[in-house]
Structure formats: structure tokens, C-alpha cells
Symmetry: C3
Subunit: 264 residues, 3 copies
């Protein structure tokens, strides 16, 4: 685990371009700022190239795209490829809606992505594994989440972060499991989106994608757990602002001390 | 009052599809999660059918629709009708803007809705009663709010929730008034939208619409009052996250103990 | 400094129409409510005239516009001109993206604005001064911020509010500098947008634009500093709701007592 990547984020202050989910965009922007990046958002195709060029990474969240926006998303993905910028893809609800799965797979055929971050239902759908999603939630299934994540990483030649009770980070051969958790992540609607954009910030340092995804996932999970542990009862609404508080306050020592993970 | 509906929401965890107001969508999504539902949002017509089919209820908020979005809204409304899914309509600012009133009435002519939730100005406009709205606020008028709500319920053959200092819930003959309140609801921009989507969650249990609207309104009002009573001074900003905290923590006993209402 | 304008805002409760940045719109709406205005948002050209006519001021935020939205923005700007409604323009990221600068200058050629509120990078770009922006952040430069702000005020015949460590308010000849500050403004993504819409609320009283911009900027800066001073450590996420708390609680006496500024 490259703990020093957190310091690097704070020193480099990467510009993180996000095609965002309008449901959670404010939390995502504030989370990026708090962890040490600089967020920039746009839905306009005419500035796709400019946005990508000034950025250190691109995060594409498919949480609420419309057909009309797909051209912009493609333009951004292709610009990222041309400019060698790392891309995180968050395939929201592709496990639940056939239309989303189809469009997401089309995008993945058009341009390469560096990291896919999804829940079990989303990763299963992209990896063609049987799974029962429930709306935007992960749902349940009997498949081995590590095997599923590895299958998708190999299929799409990228790093996969499958987040859930345990976060699985894999490049198709190496696997890290992060055990830090809180149930409040599930109660707070933007948590997955924020994790994806946090990975984008870490990628923006130019670090190795697997190591960036590892450390981003661990930092985010530890921050959530630290916040939850300070609460006497679960506060589903206050968790949002306090998670952003902690993303700003957290440092390498805290991640080292609280981090609970297995590399292999 | 069917207090047990709150437990039923938590047990069934209804999927609540929301066509949302982009101003308040994050609070709405978190509120749905907190009370015990599972939110899903989309603005894309190609997935309208899929979204409706996987959902237990639909909430259509007209807070910030554009002409281009009306086709999707109609598609969702018709899909809800075809699939027997209950629909909540929130007619934001129809009391203030003639264009909105016209479009809202057109939608109401196209597909049936189960519940309309609005403030006095909005209900007055849809019921053709004289009233002076102020922007998105309710405004003032001399009309009898109960009579207005009943008139609209009978006109559109649905349940009407007229929220304000007193919330009025009516199916056109039966009337419930909820007296729990806090001025912070007015200060917090998303309160009305959250109430509408909370009603959507309760409808998603399959309960009788009048009983679902009653209990959803009472639960929401009690949650707001509980939060306000804990504050030494009104905290207009902190009210948002704390209301979501309470929507998660609130239970049947609290609603029974604090609830102040009259059925008739 | 016309301190009494704050009381006037609370008495008059101006309707503030905002074409908003979808990233920060919820904070903006809540901030408007808290300071004493009444927010209304729309992206629909068919209601542009109605919205402007019922409003006391218009705030146009270019944070996330699309080409398709430009027609509506122009319609709103022209309606404001026809109806003598003051306009605030927030030229987000025009210092960083050539496309945005071009479109923003085209808008400024089409209709007059009363106040431009931007950071140093944005004001520099609109005033044709050399400056190095960084994404949506102000960036660094050696130019004199007062000279830059005056140049833009004279070029566009409006009041300019250049916000940063020191806020500069100028009508091209008179200059006010506000020294109240907190670094948390930079960490919280919506701060600049909220300042712009707060200026819109103060303009909505019908006050002199320079005096309205002065007092709005001072009130907002004092509110932020008051919140920050109560924190033992910087809380990047909690700052958002607490700033809205303070925008509601703040009064003339607090602004007079804490305000640190120089008029000239």
C-alpha cells in the first residue's frame, strides 16, 4: 500500500474533471476539494477537449446520463485517450437496467478506461455474471465477488474496484481487500460516486493505477469508518458533511493506523 | 392513522422512482434512503419503462422541468398507469407561473395520479381557486384550505396533501389535519420535495393511498418538529442533514407520542 | 457601508431568480432563503419572461451551462433589460476555458449586467489582463487585483466584485476592500456561487448596485468568518450547513462589529 500517495495528492492538487451524476454532484465536488484535488464539471461537448487537457484525470459517472449526453461522454473519453489522461468509469445501475448496461458496454468498446468502480450488481452485469440487483443498490448473489472483479478487470483490461462490505481492488491478477466499513455508506446516496471521484483524484497524481485505486479506496473507507465511530447512533444525514470534514482532516498516519486490508 | 405503515416501509424497502427537481435532488434521495425506501432517478425516456417496472411507486416533481423533459414525464406517467404503480405529483410553482399551470394540467389530463402534494398556492391554482402565490412560496389567500384541497381531490379523483402550517390530507371526503410543524420547513428549500417523495415511499408499500399519505405526512412533520425542538435557535442550514438523521431514527412510538392531528 | 440594507432584505424578502450551476444549486437556494430572499430557479425558455417579471433580481451563473441553454440565458438577460431588473453575472471558469470566455463575452455584448462577481482569474480574463487560472480556482498572477476589477467595471459599465483573500468591490471609480475571510470559502465548492446569489438578493431591494454589492459581500464574508472562528479545526464539509445557519442568524450588529473593510 503506497500510503505516501495521500501526501502526493495534497502536494500536487490534481485537477479532476468529472462528468457527474446530478443527484450527488455537490457532495462529489466538495469531496474532491477536501481530499486535495480540484474539481471541474461540464456537460458541454464544445469544451470537452479543453476540459480534458487542463485536467489530470477524468471521472465519468453514468448515474443520470441521457441519450443526448452520450456524445459528450464519448468525446471526453476519446479526448482522454488522445491526451493520455486516466479515466474512472462509474457504471451506476447497469445491473438493474438493460438500457444502461447496453450503453455502458458501448462506451467501454469506444475508449479504454483505467478504473471501473461499481458495486457487486454493477460489476456482475459488466462481467456477465448472474446477480440480482435491486434498483441502484448492489443486491444479492452467490457469486464470488473477487472472481467477478478479476473477470471484469481482465475483460476490460483495467483496474476494478468492487465496493461493498469488503472493497475488492484488482488489476486482474493482484487483489487487495479493504475491510474498513460503515453501514452509513449505504445510507448516504453519494458514497459510491464520491469513492469513484476520489479514485480519480489519486489517479491524477500520475501514480500506478492499481496503487492509486488501492490507496484511494483505503483512505475513503477509513474516513467513513472514523466518522461512524465517533457517532453514538447512526446519523444518516450528518454523515455526508462529516465525511467531507474527515476527507480533509485525514492524513497518512490515520490511514496507516486504522486501515484494515489484505494485499495479495 | 395507520402507524404500522412506518414499520412496513422499513420491512419492504420500496423502490421509489423519482423524476426530481435538480435543485433539491440530493436531499430527496437521502431522505428516501433514510425513511426506508430505495431511490432511483432518471431523466432518460429510453429507460422510462424499465424504471417504472422495477419501482414500487413514482414521484414526479415539476420543480425544474424543461419542455424537452415533458415527453419523458408523460412516458413515465403512462407507464405507471399501465403497470398499476401509484404516482405522486408535486406541482411546484404552478400557482406563480401560468406556463407551469398549463403544462401541469395537461399532464393531469394525460394520466391519472394517486396523490398531489402542493402548498396552498399550488393547490389553489390546480383547483381554480383565487389565491396570491409568491414565487415558489405558498403566498396568502382567504380561501379555506380544506375546501380547496377537497375540491382538487374531487376534480382529479385523487388524494391531495396541502402542506403548510397545518397539513391537510384529503381524498375528497375524508380529511386529516396534521398540526406538527416547524418554521424551518419553510427555510429549507427541499422540504416540500422531500415530503412528496416520502409519500411516494409510503405508497410503495401498496397501502391505501389516503392512509399512506396520512402516515407519510405525519411522520415527516413529526420528524421536522423533533429536530427543531432540539435546537436552541433555528439553524436553517443544519436542519437539512438533521432532518435526514431523524427520518432514519424516527420510529412508530415517536410518531404516536408526538403526532398531533385530527381525523375526520 | 449601508448596514441597514440587511434589514431591508429581511423586510422586503426579494424574489431572486437564479439560472444556477447544477453543482451547487441546493446550497445557493438555501443560502438565498437564509439571508432573507426567496429563490426561484428555471432552465426553461418558455417561462423566462414570467420568471423575470415576478422577480426582483436575476443571477446568472455560468458554472455549468450547455450550448442549448444559451438561448434561455439570453432570453432571461433581455427580459431583465426590458423589465429593468438588476442582473448579477457569475462567469465561472472563463479564466480557464477559452470557449467559456468567448460565450461569456458574447452574452455581455447582448445585454447589460449590473454586477459581475468572479475570482481573480475570471475577472482578469474578462478584463483582458494576463493571469494564470487553475481550473475553476483563481490561480496566481502579478496583476493588481484592484486595477483589474476597475478595468472590467469600466469596460462593461457595471459593478465588479472580485472575491478572494480580499474582496474588491468597485464601480470603476469607487473601491471597497473587504478583509473578512476564511480559507473554508475555498474548500467549500459553492461559496462563490452563494456570494453571487447573495448579491442578487441585496440588489433585489432596489438599492444602489454599488452599495448593495458592498453590503452583500461584507455580510457574506463576515458570516463565513464567524462560522470559521467557532471551529476548533477547519471542517470543510460542516462549513456548508453552518454557513447557511449563520446567513440566517446574522444581523446588522454582527456585521458592524466584525466587519473589516476599507472604503475609498
Amino acid at each position: 500500500m503506497k500510503f505516501e500517495l495521500l501526501d502526493q495528492v495534497r502536494t500536487q492538487n490534481p485537477i479532476a474533471f468529472n462528468i457527474s451524476n446530478f443527484v450527488t454532484v455537490q457532495d462529489v465536488a466538495n469531496g474532491i476539494n477536501a481530499i486535495g484535488g480540484s474539481p471541474i464539471m461540464s456537460e458541454e461537448i464544445n469544451e470537452a477537449n479543453a476540459m480534458v487537457q487542463m485536467s489530470n484525470s477524468v471521472t465519468i459517472n453514468l448515474g443520470a446520463f441521457t441519450e443526448a449526453q452520450l456524445d459528450q461522454i464519448k468525446a471526453v473519453g476519446l479526448a482522454a485517450q488522445d491526451n493520455f489522461k486516466p479515466v474512472v468509469l462509474d457504471p451506476v445501475a447497469v445491473g438493474a437496467v438493460a438500457y444502461r448496461l447496453e450503453r455502458c458496454n458501448q462506451l467501454l468498446d469506444e475508449f479504454p478506461v483505467t478504473v471501473i468502480r461499481g458495486n457487486a450488481g454493477e460489476v456482475a452485469a459488466l462481467a456477465d455474471v448472474e446477480w440480482q440487483s435491486k434498483g441502484i443498490d448492489a443486491g444479492d448473489g452467490n457469486a464470488d465477488v473477487v472472481a467477478m472483479a478479476k473477470a471484469l478487470a481482465n475483460k476490460r483490461n483495467c483496474v476494478v474496484v468492487l465496493s461493498g462490505k469488503t472493497d475488492v481492488i484488482t488489476d486482474g491478477s493482484r487483489v487487495t481487500q479493504v475491510y474498513n466499513q460503515t453501514d452509513l455508506f449505504k445510507l448516504h446516496v453519494g458514497s459510491g460516486d464520491m469513492l469513484s471521484s476520489t479514485i480519480g483524484v489519486f489517479l491524477g497524481t500520475g501514480a500506478d493505477p492499481y496503487e492509486a485505486a488501492q490507496m484511494a479506496s483505503l483512505t475513503f473507507a477509513v474516513a467513513g469508518q472514523v466518522v461512524a465511530n465517533k457517532m453514538e447512533q447512526p446519523l444518516a444525514g450528518s454523515f455526508g458533511p462529516r465525511l467531507i470534514d474527515e476527507l480533509y482532516l485525514i492524513n497518512k498516519s490515520t490511514v496507516e493506523a486504522v486501515g484494515d486490508f489484505k494485499e495479495g
